[in-house]
Amino acid sequence: MAVLSVKEAVELGERYEIAPSQRLPAFDSGMAEAYAATDRVDASRKVIALISPGHLAIRGLSIAPTRNAAGAYLMWPLASGIVDWPVGVEGNDVLWGRRPAFIYSIPSGERLMWANKQIPQMSESQLIKSFIQPAIQILRDLILIGCPHRAIRPQNIYFQNGNSGDLMFGDCLASPPGTGQPASCETVDNAISDPVGRGVGSVADDLYAIGATAIMLFLGRYPVANLNEEQIINAKINMGSFSTLAGGEKLAPSLAELFRGLLCDKIADRWTIKQLEGWMTGAHFNPTLPSIPQRASRPLKFSGGEFLNKPALAHAMSRHWNEAIALIADGDFDNWFKRGFGDEKAADKMLRIVGLANAYGAQSGIRDRTVSRYIILMGGNLPICYKDIRTSLMGLGSMLSHYFERSERVQQIAELMNARLPHAWLEEQPNLRPDQMQLRRSLEIIDKVIDRAAPGYGIERVLYELDRGTPCKSALIADYYVVNSADLLPAIDAAIPGAPHGTLPMDRHIAAFIAVNMKRSMDNELIGLANKDDDIAYRTAILRLLAIVQRVHQQYDLPRLSQVVVEMLEPVIVAFHNAGMRDHIRGQIDTHAHGCRFDEMLLLLDGDGSLRRADTDGFAQAMLEYAGLERGRAWLANGGLTETSRVRGIAQRAAAVTATLTSSACLAAYGVVAALF
């Protein structure tokens, strides 16, 4: 986010002011950028603001208010919320949007580890008092509010004062979970994932990070400083995390027990917080054995390396995709997989993988899907990998959200979903967490909507289904950070004046966002959006969706949106046949526009409403009447009245009648005269 020269301060609540032009990069946290801030009530308090990225779901917005900022061991926001924020410039004007913001007190101590990777060394007692005990306390606090920290790393830990003494854990809310974590502090599966695709994770991930950080503090150095991320992951897979991070150092048995327990790569065997607390009180546990993957009888050469186990090969395949495609077509891999591990069912598994890869997805991507399914089979709990995508199941939503502007990545995620790779991954897991089981239900919905082309479905719907907190990415309101339906209409109302004339307050993103964030199914309401050629039904469907959102949130102060809706509805009004009815409806719409009553407008214009029915029926009647008149005109034009035989007949009758009447009158007159005279 470029720093804009904006002079005015941004308010968060009534207490804090943030200066958008004063960046403080030293306090950046993961993907969140730090800016100078002031406390209006207590000017002496030094505070900073962390501004989160505007395109990702930020869990901190909902979590921050659930806990107060008391306690010295964890940086917790003094205030949080979505603030107005400069998002760009247009000519000399600053474009304003909205961003999540968190106000923190500036730590008075130094950061534990700076970019030079120098870490202070701690003795065992120091480590326990200054780091382990505070860590247990904050984990207990966070468990209560259901929020793993997921940002425990030396770079995000501060001394409470100066450069020694007790420690304080840094921000964990302003960035998506795990995004700032180095591979050294993440489990193997998280480390392989793209940083934005790591998902929320669990307290087990925090315990692992505590173990990794603790071992660095005890050693007083960054043990994997000379390795890149891929090498760190390979080392963790091949030797285990403990061995990788301990780096061959001799550790006291009690500490070795602690580190082995926390850095166990098998999540089921990793120490829990209870075990950690037990260890603190002197309890001893059976030594946790490193979960080294099964070795093959011979190494397999791939991408310049030799691989002796499946997870390591799976990781390498995920990073060298094209070579992996060539590998699986190679007979050497076939032999290695079938015979290298003494697995009698290996051949069946391979056949099944090929069969499933053929069964789901387009013909062109069979080899990619086969590679991906091999990685899932060999990797166990490694992330889902497909071409450039490496993501945990729970991180799929933020991954899609992060890369949504990059169409090739979006395409890859769509292919991944269509290939049912998440389902394949779930089937390979021995145990599922509750959040993973919940996502399984979302996947069932996604299977039904991903291939539907209509607005409200497709990849946009997948985006919001996968992560309910994802901000709406509609071009109209993307800068307004709309994460719940209550903010949708006000955001559209604010954004619409800046949009080109004629912009409709609906697009694929808004439709999908509404479909996901309303409590009931919106399939019936989305039908009208499916056929854009039927302009009347399309515009009426837009009105219906807006009316539903408005009715749910009772928002009636939307004057600009209301004006746009009136303009949008003009073709719908014109579609009424009866001119009088059109005038009546226009008058009513104007009246309802003053009160921003979309539901009342919908009652007038609804395709099944009484006015529409009356208009349709009346029009049909009028057409019949017109046709009757036209037939009458044709009859007259064809001599209906002037036809010769008809005229003659009438004339003859008229002559006879005239003569008869005249005769009668004369006879009567004669009779009278004769009688009188």
């Binding site: 046949h577 009028a622 009447e625 009245l641 009438i650």
Partner: protein
């Protein structure tokens, strides 16, 4: 004869519904009682007899038209025979009066003229009536089009461009 019977049998049921002799017998009897009057009227009504012979109109309207006015013209003969005493010998005198014949023939002629002129008059009236009805239909159609839009014309809304405008 057979055709005539058929024609009578096919006559519309809207007539008097009485047999012809029911009328003829009383008239003949009255004629016998007032023989001089009957004689001059029969003589004066000769043009009607001629009209009846040439009448091809349905319902014998030509005969009725001519006969009605011919009868009025015969009133002169009737008046004269009664004035003369209504004797058999007066018949010849009365029928010899050329004014009487003039009156009778004028009456018949007037009937003839009315019958001949009436189609022209009726045609003129029909033309006027047609124009009025067309105007009313056009007005009603325009009102419908104004109320319900041009679409209400349906298939009748297609305007055929004049040849000079269509470029042909």
């Amino acid at each position: 004869m057979a055709n005539k019977s058929n024609a009578n049998a096919g006559a519309p049921p809207g007539g008097l519904g009485v047999k012809p002799w029911v009328l003829i017998v009383p008239i003949v009897l009255i004629g016998l009682v007032f023989l001089p009057s009957a004689a001059v009227i029969c003589a004066g009504m000769l043009p009607t007899l001629v009209a009846r012979l040439v009448d091809t109109s349905p319902g014998r309207r030509f005969s009725i038209t001519v006969g009605s006015l011919n009868l009025v013209g015969c009133l002169y003969f009737l008046n004269r025979i009664w004035a003369a005493g209504h004797g058999i010998s007066d018949i010849q005198t009365v029928l010899g009066d050329s004014y009487g014949w003039l009156a009778a023939l004028s009456g018949a002629g007037a009937g003839w003229v009315i019958f001949g002129a009436m189609p022209v008059i009726v045609a003129k009236i029909a033309d006027t009536q047609t124009a009025l009805r067309l105007r009313r239909i056009t007005g009603d159609q325009e009102r419908l089009a104004k109320d319900w839009g041009e679409a209400v014309r349906g298939v009748y809304g297609v305007k055929v461009a004049p040849k000079d405008q269509s470029g042909e």
